[in-house]
């Protein structure tokens, strides 16, 4: 599928680790202001693709363009600055365990903004409230929070710098059904709340049910290549046997 002015454009991306080809001449683009999910079995190359989008891996060949910038053209310092366009919710939230919830959210603002301490704390508290964390938990350490609360704090931290692209790496892995539902709702809410500034959401997942419920577009990655990429309603009806096998698992 081709989109006008896509958030991410990948052309002929190949990544080899030694003799092992993880991404194989992969080309596709991700539209702005939509929720796109990249589905695939374990080992399909989802995490490697994510790292290329973030510029953490260099392609063996091909190009990755994000918000109109070819990542290859950015020197390491510029690339580092450019990553401020991304927010990311990690699989297990990856909160800094020595910092409280509010300090975790304040951290990116302390690093990259010139706001006063009071302003930063106020913004961090507002973000925490917006993802459903109550005031009583602001001063708690990650180890004192439940899995679902950690995800909420991780999401608030990801949103701290008003990213243009929000990435979700296996957001519901290891969560109970109720928390899974909560996280999925949170992803949709976050996308809706930030749609006025055109925030793009990309989910890396193997959770088919959630994907079909919350995504606008779904790409299916298999052995380093996109084998199907469709709007969600069309994806459900895909005739690709691999996709059908995955959906019916």
């Amino acid at each position: 599928m081709n989109f006008d002015n896509p958030a991410i454009e990948i052309e002929n991306l190949t990544k080899e680790f030694g003799k092992h080809t993880v991404l194989n001449n992969l080309s596709f683009s991700i539209p702005r202001n939509k929720i796109t999910t990249i589905l695939g079995f374990s080992g399909a190359g989802k995490s490697t693709l994510l790292k290329h989008i973030l510029g953490l891996h260099q392609p063996t060949s091909g190009t990755v363009s994000v918000l109109g910038n070819n990542l290859k053209d950015l020197d390491p310092m510029k690339l580092r600055e450019f990553r401020q366009n991304f927010g990311m919710l990690f699989q297990y939230a990856a909160l800094f365990d020595s910092m409280t919830a509010v300090e975790n959210v304040a951290f990116p603002m302390r690093e990259f903004t010139t706001f006063s301490n009071e302003e930063i704390i106020k913004k961090a508290e507002d973000l925490l409230l917006s993802v459903g964390i109550k005031e009583v938990s602001f001063a708690r350490l990650p180890s004192e929070l439940s899995g679902g609360m950690r995800k909420r704090v991780g999401l608030a931290r990801g949103l701290a710098l008003n990213p243009h692209i929000m990435l979700y790496d296996e957001p519901t892995t290891g969560l109970d059904p109720i928390t899974t539902q909560m996280v999925n709702d949170l992803i949709v809410d976050t996308a809706a709340k930030n749609s006025d500034r055109g925030m793009t959401s990309i989910i890396i997942s193997h959770d088919v049910k959630a994907t079909l419920r919350i995504s606008d577009f779904v790409a299916f990655l298999d052995r380093g290549n996109i084998v199907e990429y469709l709007p969600v309603e069309e994806f459900k009806k895909s005739s690709n046997p691999l996709v059908q096998e995955f959906i019916n698992l």
């Binding site: 953490l56 990311m88 990690f90 297990y92 990856a94 909160l95 365990d97 951290f107």
Partner: protein
């Protein structure tokens, strides 16, 4: 059959050599990165202060304890040896020189390697396996600059200071044992100390401690960043950091001694 075994043997040696050279190269790159990032803003003084507090202040008690007892034991051992040849008045100076040149930097180094080197590897290793290091990178923060630079700099600055504390309390311990328990004349003890000990002896110890501090932190952070495979990996990384930290102190001590003896 014999040829095949010989071939396997040679291949094993070749593989081990390649691995070790790669490891050495990797550590050298790791060290070069320190000199690159230390000059690049933002300068993280708060993190430096936190690490300095952890490595320096939090090691003070154990350094004081180890230093005082080392001085006391040294005084005893030296006294009974020297008494046989009637030079027991030299106990103070011999203990002081031993402490200044060798025992203070080496034992402080071993203590810091066991305490702070292990903590560095464990902290960074845990952050690595729980994706906290990735989180820093995704935010656009260089994890090396954020995690390694303050630790390496703090250890490089703190260890010479700890070594000086070790030297001081060691001499106090030796003086107390020498004059109170072994009944060496106080004036004689101090005059011989002043006569035979030079500033160069202390400088030698400080140089050694500075190098040890740098190396211990480099090894601790290096093994932390190279942790893989979850909790088991963190344990392994921590273990390697302590073992290699201690071995490096002892091996490097020989080479530094042979070099500094020529220079100072």
């Amino acid at each position: 059959m014999v040829i095949a075994q010989f071939k396997t043997f040679i291949e094993a040696i070749g593989s081990a050599t390649i691995l070790n050279v790669q490891g050495l190269g990797s550590i050298c790159r790791f060290i070069l990165k320190f000199f690159y990032w230390i000059l690049k803003p933002p300068f993280r003084f708060k993190l430096l202060a936190e690490q300095f507090y952890f490595i320096g202040n939090k090691s003070l008690f154990i350094i004081t304890l180890a230093g005082s007892f080392t001085g006391m034991v040294m005084a005893y051992q030296t006294y009974f040896g020297f008494k046989l040849i009637n030079v027991d008045s030299l106990v103070g100076s011999v203990v002081a020189i031993s402490l200044a040149k060798e025992l203070a930097p080496v034992l402080s180094g071993l203590i810091v390697a066991g305490r702070a080197g292990a903590a560095m590897a464990a902290q960074i290793g845990t952050m690595k396996v729980t994706e906290q290091v990735d989180a820093l990178e995704v935010m656009g923060i260089d994890s090396y600059q954020y995690l390694a630079v303050p630790r390496i700099l703090a250890a490089t600055l703190a260890l010479p200071m700890l070594s000086i504390v070790f030297l001081f309390v060691g001499n106090v311990g030796s003086f107390i044992v020498g004059t109170v328990a072994l009944l060496i004349d106080e004036t004689m003890y101090l005059s011989k100390l002043g006569e035979f000990m030079f500033v160069g002896d202390i400088v030698q110890g400080i140089i050694k401690a500075t190098v040890f501090g740098f190396l211990i932190a480099v090894i601790g952070t290096y093994f932390g960043f190279n942790v893989t495979k979850g909790a088991e990996g963190v344990g392994k990384g921590t273990n390697l950091a302590v073992v290699w930290g201690m071995i490096s102190v002892l091996v490097l001590d020989y080479f530094l001694t042979s070099f500094l003896i020529q220079v100072l």
